[in-house]
Every structure is written in structure tokens, then in C-alpha cells.
Amino acid sequence: MSASLGEEEQQGRTAPLNPPADSVTGPDSPHASDVLRRLGLAILAITLSFVVSAIFIGLSGKNPALAYWSLVRGAFGSIDSIAFALNKSTPYVLAGVGVALCFRARVINIGGEGQIAVGGIAASWVALSGSGLPGFLLIPLAILAGSFAGAAWAAIPAAMRLTRGVHEVLGTLLMNFVGVLLVSEALHGPMGEVGAGFPQSPLFPEQAWLPALIPGTDLHIGIILAVIAVIVCHFGFWHTPWGFRLRLIGSTETAAAYAGVSTARGFAGVMLLAGALAGVAGAVEVLGVHYRLIQGFSQGFGFNAVAIALLASLNPAAVLPAGLFFGFLEAGALAMQREIGVPSSLIYVIQGLTMIFVLCALGISWRRQRV
């Protein structure tokens, strides 16, 4: 595989394996001053996008100050809303840390949504068919199935890239639509609940439900998994040979080639890892929140993950606060819609704007390094 890639690069007939994403890949080590600078950058991007969004709120005839106050209260107002927000953050963090690693290696994997969708299908299938098993076996099995399914889904565009030169952006994007339709297909076919008004699977047996982290709230243990994933990825990225190889691939292709690092293997590995993490995100969502597979459960998750990875400046550890920010934002936005009547789709506006501002700022900082 790597041989054919080398040949491709020598001939220069197609684009290089790694897209010219210089402005996405970051620096090589997390210095304290750098972390501070990037934190400032994230806060600036968020502030700017809130200011611009306030204009749109004004356009729709509502008071932006009141709307944002309602958003803050909605996000932090009660134990229930905090639990809701943490649950929301969980799949974002899981998928986001995978995306951050991909982007670091200049692999633009934006197939999170499809990978989450098939992860959810696989976990649901295990949860529904293994009803005789006790919870301590069933839950890990279901999550494992989700991660395998997510990785397998990511393997398809990865293989298309490595063997046929199909760019992973288009490959993963198109696979998203197929993955989401696969959920509908499963629910209208073998896994659907007969007689339900909405396309959904039957309720999972109770031993397959993720246990509550704090009894009496909806907060499930998924957030623990997310924190573990972040810690492992942070350590792996900065302190292992594998992480070093990823960083090498991300910084310069030629250096990686001289060091004998296979770009193809790095590409495949990071795609599979991100797919597996997204699959776990899908599993956690169905096992911990819905207790069943429902149509459209993964809507927007994959793009959220990209937004979070960017907001974190592609630093695995920073994905956690960035993911929490988006989780609380979403919880707050739902309250804002209820109380003030500002459509909750405003969060997509905020997300899109935040991403664009971060990208612009990353572009500038990259320019500063060059000069």
C-alpha cells in the first residue's frame, strides 16, 4: 500500500496524500505560553460569534441580552440542566478527540455523523439481542460493537483514499448520508418497533442502560468514558512513538518519509481510531440517553465534533472543555427557545461562526510562524 502511495507522489499526478492543511495543523508541543495564546484565541472566536449572532437575534425581533441571559440560566440553572448538558457533551467529546487527532495528521475526516450512526446501530443490535446477559457484560459488549462498527465505517473511505485516491473529505461526507439512511433502514426493517408512531427500536432491556453517575439524575457514566478517552489520546499523542509519528506526518511529509514513517499506515490508523471513538459516541448516546435506537439520533453530531476539535485548537486535552462548552450551549439554547422564542438553530449559527473565526485565527498564527 505504501509503495503505491510513494509511486503516486513521485509521479505527482494526483494530490498528495495529505491535503495542504498547514493552517489546521498546530505547533509541535504544548508550551504553556502557547496554551494561553490558544485559549485567548478560542475565547475571542466565541465572543465574536456571540456578537454576530446577537445581530441575528435582533433581526428576528428579540432582545439579544434577554436571550443570552435565558441561555445561561438554561444551561446552569439546575442540577437537571447540568446533567442534560453533560450528557449532550459526551458524544461530542468522544468524536471530537478523534477528529482533533485526524486533523493533526492532516487527515480531514468529517465522517463523524455516519460513524456515530452505525456505532449506534451496532450497539443497539447487541443490546436488543443479548437480553439474557447481565449488564456488566452486555454494556461493554454493546460499546465494543459500536466502536468496531464506527471503525469499519471509517475504514471504507480510508481504503478508498489509499487504494483509489478518492479524497477523504468527499468519501467521508458521502458515507455520512449512507450511514444515516442505514439507521432508517434498520428501523423500518429488522430493528423497528412494531406499531410505534416514530421510527424507533423497541426499548432496550434495563440491564443494557448505562448506569447513572449521580443517582437521581439523568447523568450517565458516558462522561467518564469521554474523560478517559481524552486522557488516553492526550498521553498517546504527546508521549508515545505513535503520537510522534502522527505529529511528524502532520508537520511535513518529507520529514516523515525520511524518518521511515509510513504515511499510509498513519492515515489508516488515525482514521480507524477516530471511527472507533465516534462509534463509541453513538453507542453511548443510544445506551445512555434514549435507551433505544431512534431515527436521526446522530443529527449534527459529526459536524459538532469538528467544531469542537477546532475550538480546542486540535489539542486533544482541550477537546474536553470545548465539548463541554458546546454541550452547555445546546442545553441553554433549548431553554432560550422555550422561554424567549429564539429558534434553537441559532447554535448552528454560533458554531459555524466560531469555526470560521478559529480557522481565520489559526491561518494568521500560521502566517506568523512562517515569517
Binding site: A21, F103, I108, V166, L181, E185, H188, Y348, M355, W366
Partner: protein, 307 residues
């Protein structure tokens, strides 16, 4: 398959290919200038939204089409400023623009109409039967009984091809996409040219969106483009960045979709969701088939740095 079904099928292929073709023509202008056109999905959605809302408020289709161009250009300008001025990553900026468009259209659809999405039943752009020609057997009903935007899209292939291949401006555009330093050394302004090419792409993609909302469906719903912009990107690669070839790419995806829709009526034991996957699967399969033969503009996605 009888004669009437075949005519209906071919006619439907052309109709489905129309928005894809408009978007792909815009995308090829952007990509030959060196800017990845991942944002066309969002431009298309903005165009569909602007067209539908303007047509609803003014009851005027021409104003609707104009608004769709403006909305597409606005998003194009955002992408252009980010990628050209700030050297942001093209792929991810395009993706961010798509999310922004999704949020903005969904938000404004409710916000501008007092909190609830209005019920939209718009008059659609009707079919125009060209006298004499539409009465020809077979080709008549397929080629000369189509709605306005379909004629426009397919006719636009010719000037876009001519512009790219046979004009000074087209040559300069392609030079900027291949080697901006060289273009700059002979007096072209790569930043300006890229900015303009992305905004022109917005015009085309906006019209493609309007085709969807004003000609095909007569309404606007959240995220209604549903990946059509990405299919157009696939068609560009299949057409190797050449207008006439990408037209065939669009028609191929159109034909696959039309066939899939038609199969639903045959009562075969295939679920509608599997059928809905067809255009995406066909696009992926064709991309795999094309493989390494596709050659992108050399400087696509690379920022131009003036030394």
C-alpha cells in the same frame, strides 16, 4: 420497459441533474481558481432559502432568483475572505460555511416570520415547451419540454467552457489555480481573482439552490439540499474539471436517482431508504472507478503568499 416510461425516466434524469449542474459549474470556477468548493452545499442552501423567502414575500419569481444569487454570493464572500485574506484551511472553512448556512437559514426561516416556520406553497417555475422542437418524437418531450432553469443550466455549460478554455480571463483564472506565483509574476492578482471566483461560484450555487426550491419543490425546508452540493463536487471530479464532462457526471447521478425513484414504483422488495442511498453510492463508486486519473489544479487549497 415501455416507451413512455423511458421518456419519463430520461426527462426526470435531466430535471434532477439541473441543480447539480449549476452547482458543479460554479464549483469548477472556484476550484480552477485554486479554492476547494466544499462550501457549495451551504451556498446552495442559502440560495434555496433566499429564493423561496423572497418569492413568498414578493410573489415574484425573478426577484426570488436574484435573491438566491445574492445569498449565494454572500456566503461565497465569507468563504473567500476566510481562505484568501486569512489563509484558513479550505476544506474545513467550507464545512464551517455549510454549518453556518444550515443554522442561518433554519434560524431566519423562523425568526423572520415571528418564531414559527411559515407554510410555503410557492408557484413553481413551469415547463416551457419550445414550439416545433418539443413535438419531435423522443427528443422533443425530453429536451424541449423542460422548465426554465434546466435550459439555463445546460446552456450555461457552453459559455463556461468557452470562458475557461478560450478567453484571457479564463486562462488567468486557471493559472492562479495551477501556479499563483507565476500568475502573479505576469501581473495577475491571485487574491482578487480567487475572491471573485469564489463569489461567482456563489452565484451559480445559489441558482442551483433556487432551482431546488422554486422549480423542483416549490417550498423550503431545513437542510433541503441534503448533500446535493457534495454530489456536485463528485461530478466535478468525475468530469475532471471540464464543463462538458462534468455535465455528463451530473447526468449520470441524475439518471441513477431517476432510476432509483422509478424502481420504487415497480413494487420490488427494496426499501425506500436503500433507494435513497443510491446517488451517494453511485457517486462513491464512480469516484473509485476514476481513481488516480483525476488530477486536481496544482495549487488548489494552497494559500498564495506574496513575497
Amino acid at each position: 420497459m415501455n416507451y413512455a416510461v423511458l421518456i419519463e425516466l430520461l426527462s426526470a434524469s435531466i430535471r434532477i441533474a439541473t441543480p447539480l449542474l449549476l452547482v458543479a459549474l460554479g464549483g469548477v470556477i472556484s476550484e480552477l481558481g485554486g479554492t476547494f468548493a466544499v462550501g457549495v452545499e451551504g451556498m446552495m442552501l442559502m440560495g434555496a432559502f433566499g429564493g423561496a423567502v423572497t418569492a413568498l414575500v414578493t410573489q415574484n419569481l425573478v426577484l426570488g432568483l436574484l435573491a438566491s444569487c445574492i445569498c449565494g454570493v454572500l456566503l461565497g464572500a465569507v468563504i473567500g475572505v476566510a481562505t484568501v485574506k486569512f489563509r484558513a484551511d479550505h476544506m474545513v472553512t467550507g464545512l464551517a460555511a455549510n454549518i453556518l448556512a444550515l443554522g442561518l437559514t433554519s434560524f431566519l426561516l423562523r425568526g423572520l416570520f415571528g418564531g414559527k416556520a411559515p407554510v410555503m406553497v410557492l408557484p413553481t417555475i413551469g415547463a416551457i415547451h419550445i414550439p416545433w422542437l418539443s413535438e419531435l418524437p423522443v427528443v422533443g418531450p425530453i429536451l424541449f419540454g423542460e422548465p426554465l432553469m434546466t435550459y439555463l443550466a445546460f446552456l450555461l455549460v457552453i459559455p463556461v467552457h468557452w470562458f475557461l478554455r478560450h478567453t484571457q480571463a479564463g486562462l488567468t483564472l486557471r493559472a492562479v489555480g495551477e501556479n499563483p506565483e507565476a500568475a502573479f509574476s505576469v501581473g495577475a492578482n491571485p487574491h482578487l481573482i480567487r475572491m471573485i471566483s469564489v463569489m461567482v461560484c456563489g452565484v451559480f450555487a445559489g441558482l442551483g439552490g433556487a432551482t431546488l426550491s422554486l422549480q423542483e419543490l416549490g417550498t423550503f425546508t431545513d437542510g433541503m439540499t441534503n448533500g446535493r452540493g457534495f454530489l456536485a463536487l463528485a461530478a466535478i471530479i468525475v468530469g475532471r474539471w471540464m464543463p462538458f464532462r462534468l455535465m455528463w457526471g451530473c447526468l449520470l447521478i441524475g439518471a441513477a436517482s431517476a432510476l432509483a425513484l422509478n424502481i420504487q414504483g415497480w413494487g420490488l422488495p427494496v426499501s425506500s431508504y436503500v433507494i435513497q442511498m443510491t446517488p451517494y453510492l453511485i457517486a462513491l463508486a464512480v469516484l473509485c472507478g476514476i481513481g488516480r486519473k483525476a488530477r486536481m489544479p496544482a495549487a488548489i487549497g494552497k494559500a498564495f503568499i506574496r513575497n
